[in-house]
Amino acid sequence: MAGAGGGGNDVQWCFSQVKGAIDDDVAEADIISTVEFNHSGELLATGDKGGRVVIFQQETENKSQPQCRSEYNVYSTFQSHEPEFDYLKSLEIEEKINKIRWLPQKNAAQFLLSTNDKTIKLWKISERDKRPEGYNLKEEDGRYRDAATITTLRVPVFRPMDLMVEASPRRVFANAHTYHINSISVNSDNETYLSADDLRVNLWHLEITDRSFNIVDIKPANMEELTEVITAAEFHPHQCNTFVYSSSKGTIRLCDMRASALCDKHSKLFEEPEDPSNRSFFSEIISSISDVKFSHNGRYMMTRDYLSVKIWDLNMENRPVETYQVHEYLRSKLCSLYENDCIFDKFECCWNGNDSVVMTGSYNNFFRMLDRSQRRDVTLEASRESCKPRQVLKPRRVCAGGKRKKDEISVDSLDFNKKILHTAWHPQENIIAVATTNNLYIFQEKVN
């Protein structure tokens, strides 16, 4: 079942770069909480638990040296969110960035949405490479000149300066969520976006911050009757009227905003029937969907639950068209994973540019590449030990039980503190960004 290659057409992955500190003592603020490429793939943004955003930019390729792959270097960094205190509930509001989503580029500046548990912000990232010089009333350092000493008039001119990248908050979308925001998604109409918390989904206009439309509300009249929560939501990549949201019970609901203002009644319900004889205490917990992503072509969607990745055809609601086991060997460890809370870890998943391969993270800093077209999969590791430039990543194998082979690692030796929850794939090229707890790894396709 495990193939030698992965990533379509026998792509071999090599190390390109790693960002972050090497020391094992990880400060909480440095824990990476989200990773996202922009629409061209030129920019790569990360958010962390300290509320900071770091944006990397791909260097323009050196055409004379095709072997020298373009690297991602720091482009801009800023403090997006600060910790707050909800006085009414006496609860702390974490500054951790839950999600970053880029807006498609419309002009010279770049825009992204970043959100913590309660507030979404629209950030403008712009470049400044010229500055005006030769003012009449001011000195170069800004001090005002004595008007009496001015005898001539000059025209200020723009002169080149060292590139400065500025990030400024353009909109703050606050006070619309009682519960914790888990998702934001920009609509294909480039005017609206949705934000989802545990029980509600809201629709915003990017220009309007004092109003938000509630489009899904699953809060029961009596909270004692609460049986499921919303875990993720996303707009369809092309149909601006369609969005999906996933639940903690393993279902996905597709809604059409043309049908009614409040989309509590779904248009489609995607659910795989469960074998009742297999039901256990853990069944519902491990069926909870931690991420849902539409394919780029808009025909499929992928869901990630604790042990598997499922690909759904939007035209078929009763079962997924493909199911991939991420780390099936963990099924016999569910008891300890429940005790150490790992069973509640929320893994994300992503598609490659042409929807032929999907990727998701696991434990021990392992991540999985699942090739849909070739029906092969491979497990790779993000490790400081494979950090030589252009070093090819070796496939990893986990031994579930019985005799452990030479290169395998046994399930009991896996480090469950080293989890890869966030990964991102460049929209066009075979470049992937993999976030370990506090490091960001960038891997690229091997170029011969």
Binding site: T77, S280, E284, E339
Partner: protein, 110 residues
């Protein structure tokens, strides 16, 4: 990959004669350790805990004290500054002197 799912079901049916499915075995282990664990697993308790994530403080004063402890703030300094604002008006939590969090750059930028 659906072939893999079928295999595990078959495996389970084989094992049923001698051993229970790995998931059920894990469930038995858990019930043995925590006999009082509710019969409704994913139910309200778990969800409610999830909805109320985040540390609760008694009040804003408690929150600010906790933050001060985390930053090893010098309390005498705070008292000195306080004398500047009391007397004019009743201080609000926002007025209380707070050393502005020194912006530490993310280690990813190095």
């Amino acid at each position: 990959m659906s072939g893999e799912v079928v295999a595990s079901t078959e495996e389970q049916q084989e094992m049923q004669d001698t051993v229970v499915s790995p998931e059920k075995a894990e469930e038995a282990k858990l019930k043995a350790r925590y006999p009082h664990l509710g019969t409704k697993p994913g139910g309200s308790d778990l969800l409610r805990k999830r909805l109320q994530k985040g540390q609760k403080y008694f009040d804003s004063g408690d929150y600010n004290m906790a933050k001060a402890k985390m930053k090893n703030k010098q309390l005498p300094t705070a008292a000195a500054e306080k004398t500047e604002i009391t007397g004019d008006h009743i201080p609000t939590p926002q007025d209380l002197p707070q050393r502005k969090q020194s912006l530490v750059a993310s280690k990813l930028t190095f």
